[in-house]
């Protein structure tokens, strides 16, 4: 029996889509933050080991699952490993859906900042003193602007707009995705190169680059450096979310997935390399500290550096606009893959139309995105630290993004490695690969990767003990750190179980 399935129009289209999926918000600032915290150039040692030992092999596995079965992750896992595999696949897809909700909420904030670039957000040399969260001053300042703006209804409007953009891009599947990434991905590279050039031409910019790459080996012996590198690689390459399998399922079965994995991984890490140069040169020149979260770096710290780029207001605003446009585009190319993962899974399982699958996903997820932005709007006092506002996002991100993806990855690798057989997968990949993979792949998939992921998960749990977020001072919401992980686990596992039990439509 045969069933028509969409295909990418070209190999380049697939590569742009998959690399666009991998290059997201985190790539732009998170690598810089990690490199700064873990010894600059020395961080490249665990980073490259993580790339070759964990990143590329799991990507080969996920691409291989997609292209050999031509199915999305849950159905591909079912075909190779049975029902338990399908259950893990659905759990992974549910995690992707949860991530999409708050990811698009953050994108909505970035969109608000982008629009703010035309107004008072960027002014040359602005470093106005203020007391954060409690007494925002009227002076234009990125942090004040951010907290004032997310307390308005504007972000909701942009969240809905971003959802509409995502759905428009996904409306005809690979055809419309390919059209979008052919514009977005090269533009992202061009913008990043512009930021690199500007950073390097600043007085002292090259010292910033040297600061990024000069190794400090003192930190290498710290286990948290290695844990940071391995988890960063896992998240950076968008593994464990079913996105790569969904995209690869639209490739012909004779596609070279070994080379595709290498190319997408190298492109992703090359983008991080450039982003590191752009951010370090900028922050070094103005003595700004690159240690921080994606949120704090993107919305508070980097805008300060941009304000110092020129004494000409329109130049500062142009760079501010380019920076946030870059963030929005990187976010969209990732969010479309996050939505495509559950959409293709529903289409495969229930044989429903793309339009219906997207509706099933978009309605609850759009409401979820709005719910993440809503607390700050309803009560502006919640838009600070240690309140329900950002803490809700922080806790969800911590449990959904950090843990569920790693656990899914761990079980996925175990099931494929031991039930389907790592050797079978190696042979299937090598069948169409120009660069054949050796038996090391079997050792990695069966033993080393599960061991590494297990160590990362266990040590992360230990470092979170007694419970992540329980130290936050949140009067009235002290139950939140317990509620969030339980809520996510119950909801995602129940839906995954229910979907696994449903009969496949043919």
């Amino acid at each position: 029996m045969t069933k028509k399935r969409q295909n990418w129009d070209s190999k380049l289209g697939f590569i742009l889509a998959a690399s666009g999926s991998a290059i997201g918000l985190g790539n732009i600032v998170f690598f810089s933050s990690n490199a700064y915290q873990y010894g600059g150039g020395a961080f490249y040692i665990p980073y490259f080991i993580a790339l070759f030992v964990l990143g590329m092999p799991i990507m080969m596995l996920e691409f291989g699952l997609g292209s050999t079965t031509r199915k999305s992750l849950p159905m591909a896992m079912r075909e190779y490993t049975g029902r338990k595999g399908e259950f893990i696949g659905w759990w992974s897809v549910m995690a992707a859906l949860f991530i999409t909700m708050y990811y698009i909420a953050i994108l909505g904030w970035a969109f608000t900042m982008m629009i703010g670039s035309f107004g008072s957000l960027f002014e040359p040399g602005i470093t106005a003193p203020f007391t954060p969260f409690t007494e925002p001053t009227p002076e234009p300042n990125a942090m004040v602007y951010f907290f004032n703006t997310i307390a308005t209804w504007q972000p909701l409007l942009f969240i809905v707009l971003l959802w509409l953009i995502n759905l428009t891009i996904l409306r005809t599947g690979t055809e419309s995705i390919e059209k979008a990434v052919r514009v977005f991905v090269p533009t992202m590279w061009i913008f990043m190169i512009i930021l690199v050039i500007r950073g390097l031409t600043l007085d002292g910019g090259f010292d910033g680059v040297m600061y990024l790459f000069t190794p400090d080996f003192e930190g290498i012996s710290d286990p948290s450096v290695w844990r940071g590198a391995f988890s960063q690689m896992f998240f950076s390459l968008s593994l464990g979310m079913g996105t790569m399998t969904a995209y690869a399922s639209y490739l012909p079965r004779d596609a070279d997935q070994v080379n595709n994995s290498m190319l997408v991984s190298f492109l992703n890490c090359s983008f991080e390399f450039l982003a590191g140069i752009a951010i370090f040169s900028l922050l070094f020149v103005f003595a700004l500290n690159p240690a921080g979260t994606t949120l704090s770096l993107s919305f508070f710290v980097i805008p300060q550096g941009i304000n110092e780029l020129s004494s000409t207001p329109w130049v500062v605003r142009l760079f501010g606009f380019l920076f946030y446009l870059l963030i929005v585009m990187a976010g969209i190319t990732s969010s479309i893959s996050l939505i495509e993962s559950p959409a293709s899974a529903l289409m495969d399982k229930f044989k429903i139309s793309r339009r219906r699958a997207l509706t099933f996903i978009a309605v609850p997820a759009m409401i979820g995105s709005c719910l993440f932005a809503l607390p700050q709007i309803i009560d502006p006092n919640l838009s600070g630290n240690g309140t329900l506002g950002l803490t809700l996002l922080d806790l969800t991100d911590h449990w959904v993004f950090n843990y569920s993806l790693l656990i899914v990855g761990f079980v996925e690798v175990l099931l494929v490695g031991w039930i389907f057989g790592a050797e079978n997968l190696r042979q299937a990949l090598n069948e169409h690969a120009k660069l054949k993979i050796g038996r090391w792949f079997v050792v990695l998939v069966k033993y080393l990767i599960p061991l590494i992921l297990l160590v990362v998960i266990v040590t992360s749990l230990m470092s979170d003990w007694p419970l992540y977020g329980s130290a936050y001072d949140m009067p009235g919401y002290t139950w939140l750190p317990v509620f969030i992980p339980i809520f996510f686990l119950v909801v995602s596992l129940s839906i995954a179980f229910m979907l696994t039990q449903k009969k496949n439509r043919t």
Binding site: R5, L212, T214, D256, N259, F266, S270, F284, A287, G292
Partner: protein
């Protein structure tokens, strides 16, 4: 994509400190270089100055500079290049210490990483387009194809 609030708070404090009261710690020269003496003046005067190299990192390193003068004047010779957080008498600011010349190890790591990443990408791109016919077959799904389970 973490939004760790504790880190955020530390960052906020640093930002506030570095922006709000930066005028209280003066440097000469304004852009110090590794190994070259920097003249630091703290107002109001204090007897010690705390320097944290690579603040907020796993490899942060502290250094105290003590002055026996009562005018809050310090002589400091940066032992490392990079971002340094300065704190004295409840005041703080960040400063970027430049490299004295070119960092050979930095250049080495940069070139190595560049060659590995962009070289790897170029190699894979060449391989991708080396056979224009590959990857164009098997458009139909054949469910009988199941690798040996």
């Amino acid at each position: 994509m973490r939004a760790t609030s504790s880190v955020l708070m530390v960052l906020v404090c640093l930002l506030v400190l570095s922006q709000g009261v930066s005028a209280q710690i003066e440097l000469e020269p304004l852009k110090p270089t590794k190994g070259e003496v920097v003249s630091v003046t703290v107002e109001p005067p204090t007897d010690s100055l705390l320097l944290v190299y690579r603040p907020n990192s796993a490899v942060a390193r502290e250094e105290w500079v003590v002055s026996d003068q009562a005018d809050g004047h310090f002589e400091w010779t940066p032992s490392d290049a990079g971002v340094v957080a300065m704190a004295a008498g409840g005041q703080a600011r960040n400063v970027s210490v430049r490299f004295a010349g070119v960092s050979e190890s930095g250049i080495f790591v940069m070139v190595l990483a560049f060659c590995l990443l962009f070289g790897g990408a170029s190699f894979a791109f060449r391989l991708l387009f080396s056979d224009p016919e590959a990857g164009k077959h098997t458009q139909e799904l054949d469910v009988s194809h199941r690798p040996d389970t």
